[in-house]
């Protein structure tokens, strides 16, 4: 690591804004000019991520190109005690990349190289700014692909995927990001590089690789990732089933899993979601159905055909009013088009929507949906439901109009109540989007003070000065106490005898 005289100066004193300016003055001495963004107009582009309800203009943006630059930037931030918010593609849905006005955004956008593809060991070494889909594209000539596919996969970066432990529609069979990453190089806030995992399948000691996944940029800055690649399945089929009632569709999901079939994807949409999607992309969805299921099966041609027959029977046995099977790529793409465009489709029917991300044990699905419908009436806001039904991950979209005074706040309160429902059902407040700034209050519902204390202690181990993405992911105990949120443990409410609506 290079050092010069300025990098040995003692920490700056003064206000947060003064410390930032002192750090920037230092960075200007050695950082290439195009690496540093300070023009107010350009800074606007970084004021929010995929959750635009929260906005803050950063003090500056730094876009390094080398690991050495990252180390020196972090070391400078450490010396001047300036907050650092690492950012990938900015597609996150929980405000995890929301900037700090007196801090810098560390954009990893120029770390965009695929360093190596090793088809024999089925791994790829990539930089964090590489787009998720670009990995599969680069691996395609070898008959391989990278399995996790968040809906934003054409844009989102793999570094952001690790930071959020991103999911997607194929998690049920292929797991989350944490199951598909074998190694990380991470720079810590004091400028140290950690190598965690690598080319072998496992690594000795504590599973720090898992700990870094979903840590939302709070523990270190990821500079390199070794991902697992999988052989492309030989064949794929997608079944589209319509149901006259939601509980029947939920039972059909349990029926498929209970029969020992683990589909590659198993998605559900309710009637408002079906209508919005059909209006938008004309996928051929049955607009009068109460719910549809999309079931994707992959494997060899023989097994896909055998499984498709069994799944069709199961769907019909559970009351499907119609089952269509897509075998060719065009029809499959059409079946998926509606599901994959569900969020923008909802964007067309409502000025704003608020996307939730709770996960529940699958058997509680019908009950939680009824609860959401009840809350919808209580708050006077409509809800559109799309789910990763196979793994119980719900995405209720609350429709609101930010232009109407108080409606955003109402939508947020409604959302918090949905997350409480999820925790009461034995689930979690976030399945794949992360906590960010958005679900800090909901964290108080899911975790007891003792557990939150451990999270803070872990943060303290990696980042004693609290400079990396401060204030995200884990609420302070003080905040939880002020909120007076009821911590719900293992699905058991305090005072279960009291009705709660």
């Amino acid at each position: 690591m290079l050092t010069d005289a300025t990098e040995k100066t003692p920490p700056t004193r003064g206000s947060a804004a003064e410390r930032l300016q002192a750090m920037l003055a230092e960075l200007r001495q050695w950082l290439p000019a195009e690496t540093l963004v300070t023009h107010p107009q350009e800074l606007r582009a970084y004021e929010c991520d995929g959750l635009p309800a929260y906005r803050r203009v950063p003090g500056a943006v730094v876009i390094p190109t080398t690991e050495d630059q990252v180390k020196r930037i972090l070391a400078a931030a450490h010396r001047h005690r300036v907050p650092v918010v690492a950012r990938g593609a900015g597609t996150g849905l929980s405000g995890g990349a929301l900037p700090d006005p007196d801090g810098i955004v560390l954009s990893m956008a120029r770390f965009n190289r695929i360093l190596s593809i090793d088809p024999v060991n089925r791994i790829a070494r990539v930089q964090p700014g590489v787009r998720n889909l670009a990995i599969s594209e680069a691996a395609a000539p070898h008959g391989l692909y990278y399995a996790p596919d968040p809906s934003s996969q054409i844009a989102c970066s793999i570094g952001g995927n690790v930071a959020e432990n991103a999911g997607g529609v194929h998690c049920l069979k292929y797991g989350l990001t944490v199951h598909n990453v074998q190694g990380l190089r991470v720079v810590t806030p004091d400028g140290e590089t950690l190598t965690l995992g690598g080319e072998a399948l496992d690594t000795p000691g504590y599973d720090l690789l898992a700990l870094l996944h979903g840590s939302e940029g709070m523990l270190g800055v990821i500079v390199e990732i070794t991902v697992k690649l999988l052989p492309r399945p030989e064949d794929v089929a997608v079944l589209l089933a319509a149901f006259a009632a939601l509980p029947a569709a939920a039972d059909a999901v349990a029926g498929i899993i209970g029969a020992g079939i683990v589909p590659a994807g198993l998605e559900m949409m309710d009637n408002p979601a079906i209508r919005a999607a059909e209006d938008f992309v004309h996928a051929g969805y049955p607009v009068d159905a109460a719910a549809i299921l999309l079931v994707e099966l992959d494997g060899t041609t023989e097994s896909v055909e055998a499984q498709a027959r069994r799944v069709r029977e199961l769907l019909q046995r559970h009351g499907a009013t119609r089952v269509d099977t897509a075998r060719d790529p065009q029809t499959r793409a059409r079946f998926w088009a509606g599901r994959k465009s569900a969020f923008p489709a909802v964007g067309r029917i409502s000025p704003d929507y608020y996307c939730m991300d709770g996960t529940i044990p699958r058997r509680r699905l019908a009950e939680v949906l009824q609860g959401i419908a009840r809350l919808s009436r209580e708050f006077g806001l409509a809800v559109v439901n799309v789910f990763h039904a196979g793994d119980g991950n719900l995405h209720p979209l609350i429709l609101y109009d930010a232009a109407k005074p108080g409606e955003l706040e109402r939508a947020e309160r409604f959302g918090t109540r949905i997350l409480e429902l999820c925790v009461q059902a034995g689930g979690t407040i976030t399945g794949e989007h992360g906590v960010g700034v958005e679900k800090l209050d909901a964290m108080c519902v899911q975790f007891a003070p003792a557990e939150l204390e451990r999270f803070h202690a872990v943060k303290q181990v990696f980042d004693p000065e609290g400079l990396l993405n401060p204030g995200k992911a884990v609420p302070s105990l003080h905040r939880c106490a002020e909120l007076g949120a009821m911590h719900v443990h293992g699905g058991a409410l305090p005072h279960p005898e009291l009705p709660r609506f």
Binding site: V120, N121, R122, I123, G143, N165, C171, G175, V178, H179, T188, L194, L196, G198, E199, A200, L201, P204, G205, Y206, D207, L208, A210, L211, H213, G214, S215, L219, P231, E234, A254, I257, I261, G299, E302, S303, A306, R362, D391, G392, N393, G427, T428, T430, G431, H433, V435, K439, A442, F447, A448, E451, R454, F455, A457, V458, V461, A473, V474, G490
Partner: protein
């Protein structure tokens, strides 16, 4: 009943923390050979027995830490499910908590994932006697830092696993094992071809002469893969894979130290004297050798992996590959979060941890 057992454990832990007494957490005591030696008063978990929650239409089970692994597996088999990572028992008394703490996975690991990949949540008693809950019963959960997966393989140095929730998979419809007489080069190229294509392989074993490949999945896939692979069908393969997993094959009967090398699957033959066998499509290699630890570790590292003295006397040395200084530093500080008084299994994973 479980609550009473937890209360008793908690009392013991608080006492130990107050008096600075080291505790050795003991489930079935079947894997005490694994890791460094621990000198501490035994803390038995066998009072914590029972399956807390299991519904066959859900792919998970919640079970108390002291439950016998054999009992859990029998229950799962009745409902057509299994633990995907096929854990070794190393004795009839093996417990579920011990299985998670040891973090050892069996023959299916490269295709199905490891223990840590199937751990969904834990209730853990920390070194101050506090009961903490991380993770849950759902597949997708990104609330808070992941403090449950690191419990897998921590060898009890972070806490007592009071309860764990594990993801399950359905039993395969069809299983068949093929035996192929191959030399080293043929074996390597066969494995490489299988690893790179979507074949229903779920286990491999090679002892220098015969490559055994287990195929499992839908019946037509298994039949087609068997045809392509050739070799001979093993009439009854259950015993073979159990013996591989439990290290009961004659190959393992040897007085020399047994090393486990975890390397990239396609790593070329590693230049160390001794007898070699391998599993996991080449990613887990076993070495019976009197070579000094330093040479074995260096060879493993230059092959892109690491080495563990799986069975043998390490003396005062490490059993696991030594950690880089900044990583070891993080280990010490994480240990201090969960076990500030150094009560649990001191030194079992690494000296001073």
């Amino acid at each position: 009943m479980a609550e009473a057992a937890i209360a008793r454990l908690r009392e013991r832990v608080r006492e130990a923390a107050a008096t600075g007494t080291a505790l050795e957490i003991v489930g079935g005591g079947t894997k005490r050979f694994y890791g460094r030696s621990v000198y501490g008063e035994p803390l038995h978990t066998t009072g914590l027995s029972g399956i807390v929650h299991h519904e066959p239409s859900e792919l998970f089970v919640t079970v108390l830490g002291g439950t016998a692994l054999a009992q859990l597996e029998a229950r799962l088999a009745e409902t057509g499910q299994m633990l995907a990572f096929e854990p070794p028992h190393f004795g009839a008394a093996a417990t579920v908590g011990g299985m998670v703490a040891a973090g050892l996975s069996g023959p299916r690991r490269p295709w199905a994932g490891a223990v840590r990949d199937h751990l969904l949540g834990v209730r853990v008693l920390d070194g101050t006697g506090q009961l903490l809950h991380f993770g849950g019963e759902v597949m997708k959960n990104v609330a808070g830092y992941d403090l449950f997966r690191p419990m897998a393989g921590a060898l009890g140095t972070l806490g007592v696993l009071v309860e764990v929730t594990l993801k399950l998979v359905p039993l395969p419809a069809q299983t068949e094992t093929r035996a192929l007489a191959l030399d080293q080069a043929q074996m390597r190229s066969t494995l490489e071809r299988l690893w790179r294509s979507p074949q229903p392989v779920t286990a491999t074993w090679y002892d220098g002469e015969i490559l055994y490949v287990r195929l499992a999945g839908e019946a037509p896939d298994v039949a087609a893969a068997a045809r392509r692979l050739g070799g001979e069908r093993l009439p009854d393969d259950t015993a073979l894979w159990q013996d591989v997993r439990e290290q009961r094959l004659p190959w393992f009967h040897d007085p020399r130290p047994l090393w486990r090398l975890s390397v990239p699957p396609a790593a070329p033959q590693i230049p160390l004297p001794g007898d070699w066998a391998e599993e996991w499509s080449g990613a887990q290699r076993w070495l019976l050798s009197d070579s000094d630890a330093e040479s074995v570790r260096r060879a493993a590292a230059s092959a892109g992996g690491h080495a563990t003295l799986f069975r043998g006397d390490p003396g005062e040395d490490e059993v696991f590959q030594p950690l880089a200084a900044p990583v070891l530093h993080l280990h010490r500080r994480l240990k201090a979060i969960f076990d500030p008084h150094g009560v649990f299994n001191p030194g079992r994973l690494y000296a001073g941890l």
